[in-house]
């Protein structure tokens, strides 16, 4: 590994959370406008994180509780290593899509472990709900992943991106898959109607209930990175990874990068609009919802891809 790689990794680790926090700040502004109010400044999220890290006393329950948020943030950042960012990619190999799926679950487990160690019943219920929700949206999502992998005949995300640049964007080639993937994305983002794990009126923010101060700051960073990871996974799978301009020139690379940011934000923006006008399902309804239409549509999409690719 060369120095440039290390610099790139550190740069990514700094840049991605900042970008995610910016998205969250803009999200608060947009939600506020839908709610007929002005809302906080777009940089509010940076101030919040800064304040959280400056808090003094923290209450710890056990070392598992302490390590949970760190585990989650590191896990998410590791996932980010494998994800192409509009032409930039730090690590890539065959089958990295499966590793990504695996790592995303791992980082969620970090929070589950830490929250479980807090001993608060609300955390326990929140974690349980998060696991049920994960199980619900993973099924259609894995089916969709299969269909995309089959269509492009590869398990490498980078290759999927490059093949989309040659052919057409997958959103045009596989519109049904894209729709189902977007429904799953809503659950991955944890936006309403699928925010049961942190539902304040029900379980008082669930897993986060005992976390305060620096821990909460870590969780906020985790959420910020997760938005980018999940959003760009969709962008890479269906929107050609944002590669629009010729990546051989520096200007093209920079523009591609900007397009990638824009597309990730677009996906987040759509989730946000749904979030603003929908109440949340009960967890059993969410489960039933995901295993009904999205799963059926995902199977249809898979069959369609099988038929198309066997031609």
């Amino acid at each position: 590994m060369s120095i440039t790689d290390i610099v790139a990794i550190i740069g990514m680790a700094v840049f991605v959370p900042l970008l995610g926090l910016l998205f969250m700040g803009i999200a608060r502004k947009i939600t506020a406008r839908i709610q007929n109010r002005i809302g906080p400044p777009f940089y509010q999220q940076y101030i919040d994180v800064m304040k959280l890290f400056s808090k003094r006393s923290n209450i710890s329950h056990s070392w598992v509780f302490d390590i949970g948020p760190i585990f989650a943030v590191v896990g998410m950042l590791t996932t980010m290593l494998f994800i192409p960012m509009g032409g930039f990619q730090l690590l890539s190999f065959d089958g990295d899509l499966i590793v990504i799926m695996y790592l995303m679950v791992i980082s969620g487990l970090g929070i589950a472990l830490g929250a479980g160690a807090s001993g608060n019943p609300n955390s326990g219920i929140g974690v349980m709900r998060a696991l049920v929700l994960m199980m619900s949206y993973e099924l259609p999502f894995v089916l969709i992943l299969l269909s995309v992998m089959l269509y492009y005949n590869t398990t490498s995300l980078a290759e999927i991106v490059s093949k989309q640049a040659d052919m057409a964007w997958a959103v045009l080639a596989l519109p049904l898959s894209a729709i189902v993937a977007d429904i799953c994305l809503q659950g991955q983002f944890g936006e309403k109607p699928f925010d049961q794990p942190i539902a304040p009126a029900e379980v008082a923010t669930g897993p986060m209930v005992e976390y305060g101060g620096k821990y909460l700051g870590m969780l906020m960073l985790w959420h910020a990175i997760a938005i980018i990871v999940e959003g760009s996974l969709f962008v890479n799978l269906f929107l050609g990874g944002g590669i629009v301009f010729d990546p051989s020139t520096y200007v093209g690379m920079a523009l591609n990068f900007l397009v990638w940011i824009g597309l990730v934000f677009l996906m987040f923006f759509i989730a946000l609009l749904i979030n603003a006008v929908m109440p949340r399902y009960r967890i059993d309804q969410a489960f039933a919802f995901y295993w009904k239409w999205p799963t059926i549509l995902a199977i249809i999409a898979l069959i369609y891809v099988m038929v198309v690719s066997s031609w």
Partner: protein, 370 residues
């Protein structure tokens, strides 16, 4: 696994899923509630004791605080009871102004209610809109009474002052605005498929159960039981106003929310009727003013009730001939649907619906605690 472990969850007093400073201890088996215990008393101030040490006229200054989102009904209930005890007849214009205030207060309480239930199922936009729109009503209250929340306006004998010039027009304009706004609420909230899926069939209350447990107000009407203190024991200007009792059938969370939404429309209509009458009436005579410092009421007892936004809110007043009540007791609507009914209805519900049920029943904790 036949023997499952139950956990105790505390909803409140510091919890967003609670309608105020109130607490519910639910025992949960898996995701289902098996037992619930209501813990009130965080808002107890002993109004009944305090009133024994106050003059008759000082009552409204104190007991408007009994139900905070809906203070005018508290004032008017007390005023009605004292008027009945003292045999005072309020001038006609005074009665109409009183009704106008009560309906405006009902609107503001229902806007709170919409936001509350929507917030409990995660649709915060409704709360943001609703409470924001409620503030326009408060602006009008301020113009009429000189205060935003605690108006201290409906004294025994009539409302304190006449309406300021041009007030009726402003009210009508606001009603137009609220009607327009209600259409937007319909689109966002009442016709929202996810809301309907969440609310319909959850925690249904039958008419027989409502009758057995003395449930009053919109909760009872949502079960199809046509009761309304405005009709049954008329006060203020309601005998002269034209309205019907609205009912729903199912008595579940959905029916309770829709019941309020329908009554919201009805209140707008009532306010329009009142302003039309107020414009025709001669101004000036609104209040029969007894001497505030030496007002004595002959011994006796009386009960005055109003249909507040939560149900029957009544005051039992006893006089021994002194300058203040010998005893005053309030009957808050939540004492029936907030304690026993809630404890029984929440059993068998999901954890997710503990808060939703509380918001849909519109439990007002200060009613219980007083």
């Amino acid at each position: 696994m036949s023997q499952t472990k139950t956990i105790d969850l505390f909803f409140g007093p510091q919890h967003p899923g609670i309608t105020g400073n109130f607490s519910v201890r639910v025992t949960v088996d898996g995701d289902t509630v098996v037992k619930a215990q209501v813990i009130p008393g965080f808002l107890h101030r002993g109004f009944e004791k305090l009133m024994e040490m106050r003059h008759w006229i000082q009552g409204p200054a104190l007991i408007c605080r009994i139900c905070v989102p809906d203070p005018d009904h508290s004032e008017t209930g007390y005023a009605t009871a004292v008027e009945r005890l003292a045999g005072i007849e309020v001038p006609e214009r005074g009665r109409y102004i009183r009704s106008l205030m009560l309906e405006m207060s009902r609107l503001s309480a229902y806007l709170f209610y919409f936001g509350g239930y929507a917030g409990s199922i995660g649709l915060y936009t409704v709360g943001q809109w609703g409470v924001g729109d409620r503030d326009y009503i408060l602006d009008l209250f301020e113009e009429l009474t000189g205060a935003r929340v605690y108006h201290i306006f409906n004294f025994p004998g009539g409302p304190r002052w006449d309406t300021p010039p041009g007030f009726e027009d402003k009210v009508d304009k606001l009603m137009d605005f609220l009607e327009k706004r209600l259409k937007e609420f319909d689109k966002l909230y009442f016709n929202n498929r996810v809301f309907i899926k969440r609310a319909r069939g959850t925690a249904p209350m039958t008419k027989a159960y409502a009758q057995k447990m003395e449930v009053t107000g919109p909760n009872a009407r949502a079960t199809g039981w046509a009761i309304d203190v405005r009709k049954d024991d008329p006060y203020a200007a309601y005998p002269d106003l034209d309205f019907d009792i609205i009912t729903q059938k199912e008595g579940d969370n959905y029916a309770r929310v829709i019941q309020r939404r329908m009554e919201f429309e009805q209140s707008i209509d009532l306010i329009r009727q009142i302003t039309r009458k107020l414009r025709k009436m001669p101004r000036g005579n609104v209040r029969v003013t007894p001497n505030p410092l030496h007002w004595k009421i002959p011994p006796g007892e009386a009960y005055g009730a109003v249909e507040s936004s939560k149900g029957e809110l009544g005051y039992y007043v006893v006089s021994d001939g002194g300058i203040g009540p010998y005893r005053m007791q309030a009957r808050g609507p939540s004492i029936s649907h907030g304690v026993q009914v809630y404890e029984e209805m929440v059993v068998g519900q999901r954890v997710a619906d503990v808060a939703a049920l509380m918001f849909s029943l519109d439990v007002c904790p200060p009613d219980i605690d007083r």
